[in-house]
Amino acid sequence: MRHLLDFQGWTRQEVESLLDTAKVMREVLKRPIKKVPALQGFTVATVFFEPSTRTRISFELAARRMSADVVSFAAQTSSLQKGESYKDTLLTLEAMGVDAYVIRADSAGVPHQATRWVKGAVINGGDGRRAHPTQALLDAYTLLEALGSLEGKKIAIVGDILHSRVARSNAELLSLLGAQVFCAGPPSLLPQALPGARLTPSLEEALEEADAVMVLRLQKERMEAGLIHLEDYIARYQVTEARLKRAKPEAPLLHPGPMNRDVELEGALADSERSLVNRQVQNGVAVRMAVLYHLLVGKEGA
């Protein structure tokens, strides 16, 4: 694979090989000196046309742990404000000798567009509502750690499915790994269809016997757009201790962050033993190291 845009065209084998590499990287991160020379001489650019500190730091740390040079471009502080185009920005970075671009944008498709302009590898760091493949990979990695295998496992994804790139990428990836994905949310926040997932307005149906539960962040914009009433959302879709009783007893909880405590998730649950939120963040660096390695060096060297 030359780029990581989404999981269209990826095989289960390719994903599993990538997750195997992530396991190696996870070991590296446990060492006292958390650095390998694997990407020495490579330059990775994080190009964030939409602000996101967490994802950017995770990618930059991943690249540095492998000795790559890192440059970062953030739209709000740079020339995009002056009307320079996405294309110009990327071509400027290309001229500086960048090998891989981590691109984040608020519009679907910007990483796809970028592949038409630059020769380097493009990694989708989240594009609009569409995809966030490294988030899905770190979720899959975290779930595999907790559950052993995803084959036949029921994974509930709860929240604003319509506007969620995390839900889309997880539906794509987790189903590729054999899981049954149930996406639950208010009817006004559900898409018409989502490949790889069963859609339901019933939180109970999604939680019933679930092996794991992923809770999505509810964005304030949805209330402002009149699509949902906050109190109604909390009353019917907040994941609570009581509602979680429907799921398997040990079913872990995931959240891509940042969390609105006591909105999408009962506050106490976020800190409970079930929560894998910190684990997700740790695994994020390892998974992103694996992605950079596969795209820049190739899995043969792993």
Binding site: S107, G109, V110, Q113, R129, R130, P191, A193, P195
Partner: protein, 426 residues
């Protein structure tokens, strides 16, 4: 005097010939030849009346970086158009008689396609206060529209239809319900959900047409004279059905469809290329088929380009920010000649009618048929195929969703009242 020898003739009446068409004094003098200074061999080509585009954005005044009258009207004659209606959503909008006159005078001096400006229905196209329709008509406006914006206030649209009715002017609407449309950038459905792009539902068009038909009934009941509502760039099966029913019920309504809605579908968006971002959006195959049906059965009166040039840099923004619009003045006829007539057997005479008498009737103009005495605003079309090469466009928008498509039916000679305004003979 110009003589076009051995040429087949095609107009709304049908295909005839070959004939030897003698042109002089701005008219067709004879179909049986005669002495001329210039003799053009029309063998294998066909001659049609000059085309009329009901819907083009020429961007002047204010956005000359995208297009101006000189490039837009040159693109028009290269596309076989002898007449063109410019949309008033310029900066500032064309909402005064002075602005209409300025456009007409400037276009006249260029001596290319004849410009028939549309003027704004409301001041600033804001949908709130009517423009001085009578003065606009006197200045040369042929149609009133707030195209580019949606007429949210039905009462103002109703009043506008009443005012225009008394003057015999059509009112054209960009029929989309703004609430349902929201921030949609492509057709709403399973594909937009998959691609993660905000959807503009087909129901937004149908809902607005349904409302506007009631507004038209209101105007019809109260008007002195006959109101005329024209639906722009129809894109959905349901919208088309509403227009068909309305026509059957005898309502004074006309409608147009664009080259892009007739040849492309939402599938094009899979490449995430804002070149295909247009309003109303490209729809499904079922909608496209319905539009083709509508061309045949007369539900659609005209093919109109909605030529909407933007700079390439703007069209290389992301799908949320890139502006809506597809430029097509220079490819519209070859595209439909090839895709509809050659590939699907769509009758050529009807296709030509949709570029000539169809749009002329919408404006209340007389038909042009290829007969002795007819106005010599004509286009000679060559069946020779070549690929679409946007690099050669006269338009400032040198990109195209159809780049590389092999098309025949290219205009090789365009005449306005007997004067050659475009020539690309071999």
């Amino acid at each position: 005097m110009i003589l076009i020898r051995n040429v087949r003739l095609v107009d709304a009446l049908g295909e005839r010939g070959p004939a030897d068409v003698l042109i002089g004094e701005g008219r067709i003098l004879s179909l049986e030849g005669g002495a001329a200074q210039r003799v053009i061999d029309g063998t294998a080509c066909f001659l049609a009346p000059g085309f009329l585009d009901l819907h083009a954005h020429l961007r002047e005044p204010g956005e000359e970086v995208k297009e101006d009258l000189a490039t837009g009207l040159l693109a028009a004659v290269r596309g076989g158009y002898t007449d063109l209606v410019s949309m008033p959503n310029t900066k500032p909008p064309v909402d005064t008689p002075e602005a209409v006159r300025a456009l007409k005078e400037k276009a006249k001096a260029l001596g290319l396609a004849r410009l028939h400006p549309a003027a704004a229905l409301t001041e600033g196209q804001e949908g709130k206060t009517l423009t001085p329709a009578g003065l606009l008509k006197e200045a040369g406006a042929v149609l009133l529209t707030d195209d580019g914006r949606t007429n949210e206030d039905a009462g103002v649209l109703g009043a506008g239809l009443l005012m225009a009715a008394a003057l015999g002017l059509p009112v054209a609407v960009h029929a989309e319900d703004a609430g349902l449309r929201r921030g949609g950038v492509m057709n709403d459905g399973a594909l937009s959900d998959l691609l993660g792009l905000p959807g503009n539902p087909p129901e937004a068009e149908a809902a607005r047409i349904a409302r506007d038909l009631e507004v038209l009934r209101y105007a019809l009941r109260r008007a002195q004279g006959r109101p005329h509502l024209h639906i722009q760039h129809l894109s959905t099966k349901r919208g088309l059905e509403l227009v068909r029913e309305a026509k059957r019920a005898g309502l004074p309504i006309t409608a147009e469809a664009t080259p892009h809605h007739l040849t492309l579908t939402e599938e094009a968006l899979k490449a995430f290329d804002p070149l295909f971002k247009v309003a109303p959006p490209l729809r499904g195959e079922e909608d496209r088929e319905a539009l083709l049906e509508g061309l045949l059965d007369g539900t659609l009166d005209a093919i109109a380009t909605d030529h909407a040039p933007h700079t390439l840099a703007e069209k290389e923004m992301d799908l949320l920010r890139a502006p809506f619009g597809i430029p097509s003045l220079e490819v519209a006829f070859p595209l439909l000649y090839t895709e509809l007539h050659l590939k699907r057997g769509f009758p050529l005479a009807r296709l030509v009618e949709l570029f000539t008498d169809g749009p002329r009737r919408v404006l209340g103009l007389l038909s042009i048929h290829l007969e002795e005495g007819a106005e010599a605003s004509l286009v000679l079309l060559s069946p020779k195929e070549r690929p679409v090469d946007p690099g050669r466009f006269a338009s400032k928008a040198r990109y195209s969703p159809w780049a590389g498509w092999r098309l025949g039916g290219w205009p090789v000679l365009t005449l306005v009242e007997g004067r050659i305004v475009h020539e690309a003979l071999e």
